[in-house]
Symmetry: C2
Amino acid sequence: MSLLVVGSIALDSVETPFGIKEDVLGGSASFFSTAASFFTPVQMVAVVGEDFPKAHLDFLRARGVDTDGVSHEKGRTFRWKGRYTWQLNEAETLDTQLNVFQSFSPQLSERHRDAQYVMLGNIHPDLQSSVVDQVKSPRIVAADTMNFWINRTRPELLKTLKRVDLLFVNDAEARQISGEHNIIRAARGILGMGPQRIVIKRGEHGALLVEKDHLFACPAMPLADVFDPTGAGDAFAGGFMGTLATAGGSLDTSVLRRAMVMGSVMASFTVEKFSLERLHEISRADIHQRFSEFKRLTHFDDLPVLDA
Amino acid sequence: MSLLVVGSIALDSVETPFGIKEDVLGGSASFFSTAASFFTPVQMVAVVGEDFPKAHLDFLRARGVDTDGVSHEKGRTFRWKGRYTWQLNEAETLDTQLNVFQSFSPQLSERHRDAQYVMLGNIHPDLQSSVVDQVKSPRIVAADTMNFWINRTRPELLKTLKRVDLLFVNDAEARQISGEHNIIRAARGILGMGPQRIVIKRGEHGALLVEKDHLFACPAMPLADVFDPTGAGDAFAGGFMGTLATAGGSLDTSVLRRAMVMGSVMASFTVEKFSLERLHEISRADIHQRFSEFKRLTHFDDLPVLDA
């Protein structure tokens, strides 16, 4: 079924202990769409400036992403510059230039309004709400956010949350939204604000799905070579939502769990190279193989009955 | 089969956001033995002072722990005083009084030398080596250590590691021993120093088993109420080694994985109350139930074949 993402396209400059890349394809919508495109057709609503390389749009289109919703505006593309130390778990932002992204106001075409699965990237909560206003009858609306919006636009964010089925957050964001330190209490607090499902993204420590009566924990694949963590969370969301969109509307726990693992699979590939380079190389066979590796990584047998 | 632990018995004073407890039963050997005692008979080699309450030894004996190897020396028992903030993941040590533990020199009785499973608690590596000298033909020798020994007695620790089959460490210790930041590279580095198996204990983020050709990741049980993390790592090791000792000598991956989960089960109970209070309450039925909860927490279905 159709999957729509509204978010950022950026030109990233990234420094890690392993090298420096300048003006590579980045932004939440880019990582999300590319990861999701392995599972389902993706429609992308975003904005780029006059300096945006056509090759990047060609790459997205070659992956089957519908880029008709990417508007081209006068000015420069959104730019982000960041640096990772050996910790590789949190970027230090060196520079942010919003450029054309500053006045981004997503307008959905008639076709996009029919989307069944909707991902609201990390933008102003009022813009997220405006997207929900525009879609007709989505099966599931998921959202991402960040400390900036939680701090500065809390009332608007709380309004948006009432209209969101699933929220992607990290530990710190969950704590900040809920005012609870314990992560299970934090997630349950947010469950009371609208979403029926919270996905806690924990980087190298994996991800946790919290529903009213269910918990599911998925580790991150332990990798000997983590190259660049940029976009891992967005690729996770893309793998997750892309998998949901293949399940014919089901939100059964087995489907959600598979989505969690596929999210982890896509995130694990993403960090192996800069930008979208690794997602550019892999095939569905690689994805299925890594899914099997996650099974081997986490599987254990039930207790013998005699031992019970 | 027989499981021997050599380590500390302490009187702990602990402050958490939820309360203060003074002079409660602590020490690595206490947590380890109590957790392991649910699975197999445990022999404990440790030292206490004249002030050590008989009630604590009675508690351990009631759990089936053989305390004949606990020597009673002139002076005061080892004391540790620590504080946890809301983070609840790392204690701030306020005071350490080694007392009788300072001159601890484990002497194994003839019976203890027959132990099949041996746990070397966090003591001077030369003392750990002396225990290995004394046991006759152990099936598996596991060890714990800490930054203090890694810093100050590195040559001695490296000698001990050559005689150890399995090492329990946290992320920071693995990095410090190996000189590698990436945790998989760190674990593999340690595999080259002697041990065939490394268990990385990651607190609220679970645990990772690293062997030459196998990886297994087990999450921690996400708990809404974490009361006091003291001893969780030792209870993990106790559940782990206790489970191994029930497997008739097998070190198959299915046995090691069950041991990892049982370690996580015992750690998850331990943090729910102060000291050994929670382990004092639970039954084998509770343990089996939580094992099932870990299965529900982590289980996901294989991909449908049609989808592959």
